[in-house]
Symmetry: D2
Subunit: 360 residues, 4 copies
């Protein structure tokens, strides 16, 4: 019943509320002998942090990660790796008025109904702040995967109605990071930024889509029939706040294709079995086939809008709600490292699972 644990071998358990003392997590099952690049971990956290650009919320969460265990002389030891991030910029007073209010399309009501008690400050446990812990674990997973030549690249392919029409198969991290909205095609990035600024003026918010590639995944990862590689990816993505949809390979568009169009013919490329096309998205029968893995995941617009809304309070009375505080028009650009982190957790977990039956 691991509600707050993700993974079977490389297992992340997270803790923490938005305005408690700290958030953080424990990674159990991290391979020993991995030399950690702490700067890189902090850099990933910074990519997720609010207040990175003029487009994002002005909150200044330092989000500095502190490791408490599992590391000796810079190397992982195979024992649980605990870490925490203090909640510095709490401003709980901004949220005092939310004690009795159920904000529309937030989790206030459902948490209250399920647990009978909730830390209402800043969304408490349901706050997307929790995902910072996932980014830390994902950064460590990515460092491991990079040593095995596996690379993850996520980017924004849609914000509201502005979409990246054609997605290039190769995208550099640098191009993505150059864009304020993490969209690698400059003209689309420009349009997205304009849309965000227009909506900001209206006090309204936007959703979007993040696309992700995983390159270098060896043949054989995934554990059918239930723990299919893409099924675990789907769960990973849907577990991220505000995510509404997931597709891999041909996705929903695949449902419109005919078998003769959709099938990926096998061919030999030197000594390696490849496919001529990749509608399979790098996974067949739940097991990776060595091709590029790609998937897309949709985010709904931010629920906190700067407009008056009708809602109900704890006493069941109709009230009018006007949000205060500092909020993002669109969190999708900041969600790029979260998508990468969760995809990395799935990948490292199946990479390690697949080691079991090798070299027996």
């Amino acid at each position: 019943m691991p509600a707050n644990t993700f993974g079977e071998i490389f297992r992340l358990t997270t803790f923490g509320e938005s305005h408690g003392k700290a958030i953080g997590g424990i990674i159990d099952g991290c391979p020993p002998g991995l030399q950690l690049d702490f700067k890189d971990i902090q850099n990933e956290l910074n990519r997720r942090r609010p207040g990175q650009s003029r487009l994002a919320s002005p909150r200044n969460e330092a989000d500095e990660v502190v490791f408490l265990s599992g590391i000796f002389e810079g190397n992982t030891t195979g024992t649980p790796l605990a870490f925490m991030i203090h909640n510095n910029d709490q401003r709980s007073k901004d949220y005092g008025n939310l004690e009795n209010v159920f904000r529309p399309s937030h989790a206030d009501f459902t948490y209250e109904a399920k647990y009978g008690v909730r830390d209402y400050r800043g969304g408490g446990r349901s706050s997307a702040r929790e995902t910072a812990s996932r980014v830390v674990a994902g950064a460590i997973a990515k460092q491991f995967l990079q040593k095995h030549n596996i690379h993850l690249t996520a980017f924004v392919s849609q914000i509201g109605t502005e979409k990246l029409a054609d997605i290039p198969l190769k995208i550099s991290k640098a191009e993505i990071e150059k864009s304020l909205v993490r969209c690698p095609v400059p003209e689309v990035s420009e349009r997205m930024q304009k849309l965000i600024e227009a909506l900001k003026a209206e006090g309204d918010t936007l959703g979007g889509v993040i696309s992700c590639f995983i390159n270098g995944v060896p043949v054989g990862l995934g554990a059918p029939v239930f723990d299919k590689f893409h099924a675990d990816l789907a769960k990973a993505m849907l577990s991220i706040n505000a995510v509404k949809a997931f597709e891999y390979g041909s996705g929903f568009a695949g449902a419109e294709m005919r078998g003769s169009q959709h099938n990926d013919a096998f061919l030999m490329e030197k000594d390696k079995l490849r496919t001529a096309t990749n509608h399979s998205g790098g996974v067949q029968g739940g097991i990776t086939n060595g091709e590029q893995i790609y998937f897309r995941t949709a985010f709904k617009p931010v629920a906190t809008i700067m407009q008056k809304q009708q809602t109900v309070n704890k006493q069941g009375e109709a009230i009018e709600l006007q949000a205060k505080g500092r909020h993002d028009v669109c969190v999708v650009p900041r969600a790029v490292p979260i998508v990468e982190a969760m995809a990395a957790l799935v990948t490292i977990d199946h990479f390690l699972r697949n080691k079991i039956y090798q070299n027996l």
Copy 2:
């Protein structure tokens, strides 16, 4: 590492290959004292069975389920409920020629690469025949859920390019079952059938989309932050053969909406808190809010086509493949009970999980 087990409390473990002695499963954690309707279970299996209509494959798998344990005088006893379905109509000779061939967009290559050995007859473990075991477990789950006034209704909303434009909020099972393709709107059903017959003549195949409603789910199911109700639904759907995509509530379309459009305002309906709209799809923060749950899941076209295809054999030689045997143009209508079954497994599991902290 439960590759072949699904669920935390109501746990289904399945076994069996397409052409082995039998397929089946064990359900551990089924509540005791549930009086089973065996006819209903068999009826669900019949809905999944090939050869139901002139549109489907002429194979005649009897698919009769036999229960081996966990039931006493017609009631579940709380002990593991084992069941099996014999593989009668095996015709393994049809598949003898597949020993060395990697069929395009099948799992032949990935299973061979991962395990080093595979039962190549009829796809072996990767065959969709395995889902019959899920239908059995799902039928039992549905019987339990019905006693708690929870009802699941899945139907075909798209085959190839033929789509159901507007989806009515209330659909009766009878309307769905009247349609040969399990699409409840007669004129669309008609178009879908024509498309299937046209493709059959060409030896080509089709995919599609199944939509599903879950009504009567109480407030409070789901276990954030990872085991969110919809995240477990996503994994359940993506674990079904040929599924490429999942969305719930507003889904991918939600990414185009603004917050002011997407937010579901709360209001009181008599003593009950409701939402004015339901873009949330019945789940907020990973926990059900009492509204109707709805989701859509996309299936790729059937990989076995009656046309010549280029591929590669085990020896790495390019070969031309011409499928023989009996195959469906479109399996989406038969997948309706599978989608319901997997959704029922998720629902009963979270229903039981949520019992833990009640009445303490």
Copy 3:
């Protein structure tokens, strides 16, 4: 919540009641490519079977195992391996009178109280017949372990008050199987048999102790801090019907020793680090150290005695109970293959767990 599943990687799920259609199980996670010796599996089952010798119950359970999946051309395929054993010799009529009775020191009352319903025939799920499924899985595990030069040897070291005073470090399977009570020292075996026959005449029953060695276990198995090798062994043993106690290495006697006596000095034997003594029982800090693993496990006397007993029925009325049917005076000799099986399940599971971080 895997009540009927044992293991993390090599996972056995068992099903079945004493007088239902069949008992059996599913092994998920068995390494692929293992060529099975089916005769050996059946032989292990025969070792557990009632009616082996004049000392044991005259029931004649054929206990023939049938495999349903996971094997292709005699080799495991890495997919779930399902098996079943039909319940042939059921004679349920012998047990009809037990519908309303709570037999002393049986599980009738606790099952009834927990589940509200129970299959009372022959103890139902609580019958030791369930352990036949463990023996099947254990036999497969032992075949795998033998290929890695790991060998398990269990034997009876005590029946009632008759004990094996000095336990030789090397005991051959042949010596054990020569004894009707599976005690490798002929004169003690003789005394044990006489004790059993004396008690049979009185309609009374006996318990005993089984000792077990595991030889050839490599350094490094075990997963602290909770899944210590010996902790998993303890759970495995205590999960067997009638077991009351477990000790490994020095055990309870170790509590009387001083540190200077108990510590196992390290020394080099050629290139291998060894210990001069082995009070640690082959495990230090929860991880195997390459020395012989040994442990002892105690069984209470059989609860079904051929004497009148006072008890209570379902209606809460005091009644007098006189057992009928065919029962063993002492099941400990038949439990030898069960102890080996459960120890093998622990060993193979940790062997495979330890593979994860090798060759990274």
Copy 4:
């Protein structure tokens, strides 16, 4: 593969090395709405702490627990409850000389062999300091259990060769805490203290036995066939550092009894079904029967002795080792709260598991 996680519903994951920044843990699945008594939690930690009496080690670990999440206004919220204890008094220099040494009957060698790297300071992860995290979680579990009238009482029944001959069925916590060695019978306590002081002078160490009662456990806890109540207790105990043996109810002595002596006759006491004797130790068929649960667990003598020992270093060279630093002659009295904590974790977990099927 939860090596550092214990429990299915009330799940404790611990982290931390003896000389790292901190130790601690996350409890996932703690029931919401539990008002915590923080003083009581700290008091339990103090019972485990070194340096409590003149008999124990003079180290002064403050062991102050800090909670980071999962609590709002003094109540648990149903979200993960994280806590940490800083490692203040580290004196790592004492251990610098142990970098290359494998101390006899410690886990230095096995950790080095398994992980290839280890934090050698003070035993690192293998240090019994880790159990402080268990005591914190156990204290919370005990507070929950007390509200349901379930009470745990552990005490020292043996140190070295000094034993408590007859164990009274009712023992007050006060009597136990009055004794420096936590043995409730003053004359035996006195003899134990003398033995400890005698061994201290010799630089030698002692083991012992802790007995434990659990009173008020309702009928029905335990999940056969593998997660039997007593099987989970056995694993819990054997997972504690230095534990070598476990027995419940009649234990090893039960193996010498006859069925006619051992069987616990059922009788009615007013409206309640009871047993006349309790050789079953409160568990039948793996399920609690409402009687007192009792068990005994044996600890080996402390491995660090103040005498010269032969051993081997990392380079495989024979060396002579002379321990320095501050060490206990006997840790068994300090292990009393650890035994209670682990027993409480098992009890709360099965208590919550049993809630699932109630009130359906």
